[in-house]
């Protein structure tokens, strides 16, 4: 699963959904792999408005990537800054989480990621 997917995911426990602690989920013991993909700047530019930037910053830091700027780059900044474009492409498009856990900051539940597939099914007592 691409790192970008963490920007759309939250704890599957209903009571957690409305809490701020449930998003983003926190990667733990993450094993990452890197794909080699061509940079698609149009795609990145069109994804930027979809991204929750503070959540992405948290994810990037927790996965050991260099910290992102405090504010999301504007379209003009991104178009002018090839290094930032490449860094974002690397983080969002090329990096996949293959093994590890995703932890809810609210209830502490750990969702296992195995072979790139996260398991969000809940144990019987949380359903």
């Amino acid at each position: 699963m691409k790192v970008l997917s963490l920007n759309f995911l939250t704890c599957a426990v209903k009571a957690c959904k409305s809490t701020s602690g449930a998003y983003p989920l926190h990667p733990k013991d993450a094993e990452l792999v890197e794909d080699d993909l061509e940079v698609n700047s149009d795609l990145l530019l069109n994804i930027m408005p979809r991204i929750d930037w503070p959540a992405l910053s948290t994810t990037a830091t927790e996965l050991g990537f260099p910290s992102l700027p405090a504010q999301p780059p504007t379209k003009e900044e991104l178009e002018a800054d090839e290094k930032m474009l490449r860094d974002l492409h690397h983080l969002l498009m090329e990096t996949q989480m293959m093994e590890g856990k995703l932890v809810c900051g609210n209830c502490g539940h750990e969702y296992a990621v195995r072979e790139g597939i996260a398991n969000f099914l809940l144990p019987a007592h949380l359903v």
């Binding site: 699963m1 691409k2 970008l4 997917s5 759309f8 995911l9 939250t10 704890c11 599957a12 209903k14 959904k17 998003y23 794909d35 080699d36 993909l37 061509e38 698609n40 700047s41 149009d42 795609l43 530019l45 069109n46 994804i47 930027m48 408005p49 979809r50 379209k75 498009m93 996949q96 969702y111 072979e115 790139g116 597939i117 996260a118 398991n119 969000f120 099914l121 809940l122 144990p123 019987a124 359903v127």
Partner: protein, 282 residues
């Protein structure tokens, strides 16, 4: 006709095999009327914009999620043919299935379908790996219960081919400890259980679909979110549409595809559910 994704790698003894319902979804989503709707809604009238990159960056890329993809034939098709369907390849896709085998199958189907589109496109560099200029970007397949792991308001297009067959009982819904593969091959009983989750819908075949429809208001993007849900005649489609319209004056539900010509006991239709923006300003 756009090519149908190859699913020859999928173990159909434990993952739902593409059938008439799957193909109706493919036909509907790639039809002239639905591509027109999706292109206008997600600003994909950029078919000619590939040569004018300055047009990019104006419309946020839509996030398309299929719930219960099974083999992945539908989301593989939508992802591979994103340029045709949305008028732009700047589309993000993902899938959620209770069945872990379906998640793995879907990922492979999506990969193959995108690679096929890339290799049939002469403009694509032969050194490109899985990305292509025509396909969308697949984020991953997750194991989960309907939309449970998705953030509220995140989904622009939700696709659902539900377990719609009326059955006396709903199969027990799986929990985290089910299907933790220990390396042992699934038994015949395991396989039957997995397949039952893909088709058995309980009363009126609607028990799971009713849950999904009840969550649409939360999970769909507030302004532009929409959903495509497959129903059979026994699901009482008119009642389903009435329920959606009852969510509020902005909600719409219309049949946008059907397999009426081969009317059997299982006449199928695709209902599109969306919100129309209020015209009058308050």
């Amino acid at each position: 006709m756009l090519p149908t994704p190859d699913t020859s790698h999928v173990a159909f003894e434990r993952v739902y095999e593409p059938a008439e319902d799957s193909y109706l979804l493919l036909d509907t989503l790639s039809s002239e009327s639905e591509t027109a709707f999706l292109r206008s809604r997600f600003g994909g009238n950029r078919a000619d914009a590939t040569t004018t990159p300055t047009a990019a960056g104006t419309v946020p890329a839509p996030f398309v999620v299929e719930i219960g993809p099974g083999s992945g034939v539908v989301i593989g098709f939508v992802n591979a043919h994103a340029s045709h369907i949305f008028g732009s390849s700047e589309v993000l896709t993902a899938a959620i299935d209770v069945n872990r085998y379906a998640c793995a199958a879907t990922r492979e189907t999506v990969r193959k379908a995108a690679a096929d589109v890339a290799s049939s496109s002469p403009s694509t560099s032969p050194t490109a790996t899985t990305s292509s200029s025509k396909s969308g970007t697949f984020l991953g397949a997750m194991q989960g219960d309907l939309t449970a792991p998705l953030r509220d308001g995140s989904v622009d297009v939700l696709i659902f081919n539900p377990p719609y067959v009326p059955t006396e009982e709903l199969p027990r819904q799986p929990t985290a400890t089910d299907m933790v593969t220990s390396g042992a091959a699934p038994t015949f009983q395991d396989d039957s259980y997995l397949l039952s989750l893909s088709y058995a819908g309980g009363a009126d075949g609607m028990e799971i679909t009713d849950l999904l429809i009840g969550r649409l208001g939360e999970v769909l993007a507030p302004r532009r979110g929409c959903a495509y849900v497959l129903l059979c005649a026994q699901n009482k489609p008119e009642a389903v549409k009435q329920r959606v319209r009852g969510f509020g004056p902005e909600w719409r539900a219309e049949t946008v595809g059907s397999s009426g010509k081969q009317a059997g006991w299982e006449k199928l239709q695709i209902v599109r559910i969306w919100r129309e923006e209020e015209q009058e300003s308050s």
